[in-house]
């Protein structure tokens, strides 16, 4: 819990600046090592790229000082560090492609997308002065999320690549709408759960010492489950399906503190996945690949063989403890090394040491997210922050777990590191929302906190309309314009 002594809370922005310098140096150093290892010189675009990184980091830092001075100081530097490492690796893979005579300018594009992402984060920070505004838009968020998820099915817009129908193509740019949908869904889940948590938490029969939910309260869970299965089956996207379902179950648990929800959720998903594996060849193929990747028959099978996974494992193995060094391995041997398999590329060139370092950055980022959730005073903020923090950890787990054979391989991107516009954009927006909530969490209250007030159990029969204006039990008044006024007035 953040200390909230009025007048003594320091913003700690200098600390953020210090960490940012470290993060930028990390990215620049990586870039420089790539250039020196592969070209023996630092070309002009090195200064251009790194200057771009510095400008973006500085601009965002200055903006945070202005509009969210009490925001967490670690989240932004970690995001910049991960983004910089990713850019360096993508650039390194570009150079490998160019060395073999092909054109590849992914790093330039990724830098452009980083700029778009940072601008989007800035817009969110400026426009969204109070995260609780989002609670009122929960159902709008749901509509938006479903719209984004079905977009790839719109004729002329959706594109199917490599068997998965998860992209849309707009004016030459391809987008993965599900990446943005996860934010909308987190907002919707937080809004829905904060309103209905009491019902979901308390009602229901006890069976064998476990409090089971009422049958009719299972409705929303079943709906989300069905949507996820539909994504799995219709879009052939195991990753997004797993991501959304994991997000929902985690947030459901945070809202209700009932283990039975997790158990029911896991049983449902395992059942659905097992059924899908039985019914659909492409899901079954993923399981084969996961369990017996080295089997020559599975290795040589095309499509749906383990070639890519095994190449990734070879890359990791050749990295060993300390890696080959930037620019000195062969990460380009792995298909999609710049996106799905960027972790294998990093593991090869930075070794286990570097890979653990990268994973530690995620641990720090995720922990800062959860700290924010604990620190913030309103239930909606708690749910949203913990949902967003969890979704980062969960996405890293699903994608890196696929590469390291903890779970079957799915087609998700590694947050901030991997090449891919939608993912990077979505993750920068998540950073902005977390910064906004953490600003609220650490901002000193103008009035003494209502101390020692016992939690008030709300009537289970409360109507949604009443609930919308209802402050959660552990909330304190927000030191700004009342959130239930018009959204335009919120912006100071």
């Amino acid at each position: 819990m953040a200390t909230v002594e009025p007048g003594t809370t320091r913003t700690g922005r200098a600390r953020e600046l210090g960490l940012l310098v470290g993060a930028v140096v990390l990215g620049m150093g990586a870039f420089a090592q790539v250039e020196l290892a592969m070209n023996d010189t630092l070309p002009a675009d090195f200064y251009l790229s790194t200057a771009g990184l510095i400008v973006l980091a500085t601009a965002l830092h200055l903006l945070v000082r202005r509009v969210a001075p009490f925001a967490d100081q670690v989240i932004l530097p970690v995001a910049v560090a991960l983004n910089g490492i990713g850019l360096a690796m993508i650039h390194r893979l570009d150079l490998a492609e160019q060395a073999s005579g092909r054109t590849s300018e992914l790093a330039g594009k990724q830098l452009g997308i980083t700029a778009v992402g940072v601008v989007a984060a800035a817009v969110v920070l400026v426009v969204l002065r109070d995260h609780r505004v989002l609670r009122k838009r929960a159902y709008l968020a749901m509509v938006l999320a479903i719209g984004l998820i079905v977009l790839p099915f719109v004729p002329g817009l959706g594109v199917a690549n490599y068997g998965a129908r998860i992209w849309i193509s707009v004016a030459g740019f391809s987008l993965q709408p599900a990446e943005l949908a996860k934010i909308a869904l987190a907002i919707f889940f937080a809004g829905y759960l904060v309103t209905n948590r009491d019902t979901l938490a308390l009602a229901g029969p006890r069976v064998l010492g476990v409090q089971l939910p009422r049958a009719r309260d299972l409705g929303p869970l079943i709906v989300v489950w069905a949507v996820c299965l539909a994504i799995l089956v219709l879009q052939r996207d195991l990753g997004t399906s797993l991501l959304i379902f994991g997000l929902f179950v985690a947030m459901l648990y945070v809202a209700t503190e009932r283990i039975s929800w997790i158990a029911i959720g896991m049983v449902l998903f395992a059942g659905g996945a097992a059924l899908a594996a039985k019914t659909f060849g492409h899901v079954a193929a993923r399981f084969d690949v996961w369990l017996n990747p080295m089997d020559p028959a599975i290795y040589d099978r095309a499509p749906g063989g383990s070639y890519q996974l095994v190449q990734g494992l070879f890359g990791l193995a050749s990295g060993g403890l300390f890696g080959t060094g930037w620019g000195q391995g062969h990460p380009d041997l792995v298909t999609f090394a710049e996106s799905d398999f960027i972790i294998a590329a990093l593991g090869e060139e930075l070794g286990l040491t570097g890979l653990l370092g990268v994973l530690m950055l995620y641990v720090i980022l995720v922990q800062r997210g959860f700290r924010t959730a604990i620190g913030v005073r309103d239930g909606f903020g708690k749910l949203l922050a913990s949902g967003l923090a969890f979704v980062i950890a969960w996405q890293v787990f699903v994608v890196v777990g696929g590469i390291t054979r903890v779970i079957p391989l799915t087609g998700l991107t590694t947050p901030f590191l991997a090449y891919g516009g939608s993912s990077l954009l979505a993750n920068w927006i998540i950073v902005a929302i977390l910064l906004r909530i953490s600003d609220a969490a650490r901002r000193p209250a103008p009035l003494p906190v209502r101390g020692g007030s016992a939690p008030v159990i709300h009537e289970a029969s409360a109507t949604p309309e009443e609930d919308a204006d209802d402050e959660p039990d552990d909330a304190v008044p927000y030191p700004g314009p009342e959130p239930d006024t018009q959204a335009t007035e919120v912006i100071r």
């Binding site: 080295m294 060993g320 403890l321 000195q328 041997l333 286990l352 890979l355 995620y362 604990i374």
Partner: protein, 482 residues
């Protein structure tokens, strides 16, 4: 809600920790097997990407890596490839490694344990991993003479330094050019390899170490050694040497070479029997000495034992539980007795060295990339084969073979040469293998040599060890002593 958030946050940490454990598992525990997987082209790239150390003969690199412009980074080059091919082996992107390239791979690519400190230094100073160099014991001159003397006959020559066990020459013919297998085009390499495989004369086979042949009469030296070691015989002990010998429990009749007579009296001294290579005398002697004593002696000389020099050497064999007729034939180096040319050279070395057999070796010195010596050959005894007395007696008997027996073609003016010829029957239709093993000078031995010419070489069925193999041995000994 805060308790639940803490718990979910713990779950998130556990998930990420699981990834760390999985990554550690792959990058540390499973890495060796993944790196060794044949489908992992990275291993090849890495092998070729490091500056692989040279293989050196007489102070000059005969195998080295030069930078190349392709994806591999370095091209392995072989100067006088065919001359050293069976020792150096090859380094191929398709077919892996062979010979010293394989046996000393970790030295050559710089990953050997003995380079640990060097690698740590390289890690700190940012140097790329570099390979160490391997200096061979081979003497170019002897290698050339032996290759030329064998000519286009199929066979092998091994010459050893009597006082150290160092291999001075190791030639196997026909030979091949390792450079053809070291090319970076897998189709060209594949074509070359298939061509070598399809060749009936098996050019890829190192006949000196990996093939075993019936040693024929050269094995009589071991039978004589067994007799002398038993204590019941001296060089001048008179033993039966009839014109024919009917094998025990059999109607088969053993004759002497070309049906000749060993002695008008039907008996002769052990030394004379060896000198003229009398079959009946040794077949009977083996029966008298007994198979236990014969096998014990042969094993003391290195039979029934695999070794590595560090190229792997096939075990030469003398079976147990021989029947009486089998023992009679084994005593003259036929039946199931089989030996590599290196083994027979080692027998000669042991006798020349007063009965102390030394481990043969090919690597004189290993240096790291900075040319600091990392390890140096340390001649070591493989155990006492026979007593000094026996060794001296055998030496005199073998001198007799060259001076006035079956091996006169090995005589060198002014130098006493000890040796033994062999003409080993193979199958009915094929010409016999011609053998010679020996050493010189007999009084203070320096070089031991074994020569094998498959199926009589250029003389075919008329060949004998004395006519075909002895002159080759003479040329090698002469070159070595000059």
């Amino acid at each position: 809600m805060n308790d639940a958030i803490r718990r979910v946050s713990t779950v998130a940490i556990v998930l990420l920790l699981a990834l760390m454990v999985a990554a550690t598992n792959i990058q540390v525990r499973e890495a060796p097997s993944l790196n060794a997987d044949g489908r992992n082209v990275r291993s090849i790239y890495r092998e070729f990407g490091v500056s692989r150390g040279p293989i050196i003969v007489d102070g000059e690199s005969v195998v080295s890596s030069v930078p190349s412009d392709d994806a591999f980074g370095y091209q392995r080059t072989y100067t006088d490839g065919p001359l050293f091919s069976h020792v150096t082996g090859y380094f191929s992107i398709v077919f892996g490694r062979d010979g010293i390239e394989r046996a000393e791979n970790e030295v050559l690519n710089g990953t050997a344990d003995s380079f640990f400190l060097r690698r740590m230094q390289d890690l700190v100073t940012g140097h790329q991993q570099r390979g160490g160099s391997v200096e061979l014991t081979l003497a170019r001159k002897l290698q050339e003479v032996a290759t030329e003397a064998l000519g286009d006959q199929r066979g092998a020559v091994v010459a050893l330094d009597v006082r150290t066990g160092a291999v001075l020459a190791m030639v196997s013919t026909p030979t091949y050019d390792p450079a053809r297998l070291a090319k970076h085009s897998s189709s060209k390499v594949n074509d070359a390899y298939q061509e070598l495989l399809a060749d009936d004369s098996h050019p890829l086979r190192n006949r000196a170490t990996s093939s075993v042949y019936p040693p024929g009469s050269t094995f009589k030296v071991l039978t004589a050694a067994a007799a002398l070691e038993s204590g019941a015989y001296q060089a001048d002990t008179v033993i039966p040497a009839p014109d024919t010998f009917t094998l025990p429990q059999s109607t088969s009749v053993l004759q002497n070479f070309g049906g000749s007579r060993c002695s008008p009296t039907g008996e002769q001294t052990l030394a004379d029997a060896l000198r003229i290579s009398c079959n009946t005398a040794f077949a009977m002697l083996g029966g008298e000495v007994g198979q236990e004593q014969l096998r014990k002696t042969a094993e003391a000389f290195g039979f029934n034992e695999r070794s590595s020099v560090p190229i792997p050497v096939a075990a030469s064999r003398i079976p147990a539980d021989l029947t009486a007729p089998e023992l009679a034939l084994s005593s003259i180096g036929q039946m199931d007795i089989a030996a590599t040319p290196l083994q027979m050279a080692s027998v000669a070395q042991a006798i020349a060295n007063g009965g102390d057999r030394l481990e043969p070796y090919l690597v004189e010195r290993v240096r790291d990339a900075n040319l600091d010596v990392v390890s140096e050959a340390d001649p070591s005894s493989a155990g006492r084969a026979v007593s000094g007395t026996t060794a001296r007696a055998l030496t005199e008997m073998m001198v007799g073979v060259v001076e006035s027996g079956s091996g006169t073609a090995a005589r060198i003016p002014g130098i006493r040469v000890a040796g033994k010829t062999g003409t080993a029957q193979t199958t009915k239709d094929a010409a016999p293998h011609a053998w010679f093993m020996g050493f010189a000078p007999a009084d203070s031995p320096q070089i031991a040599v074994a020569v094998l010419v498959e199926n009589g070489g250029s003389m075919g069925s008329e060949a004998t060890g004395g006519a075909v193999a002895a002159p080759i041995a003479r040329k090698v000994l002469e070159a070595g002593l000059r």
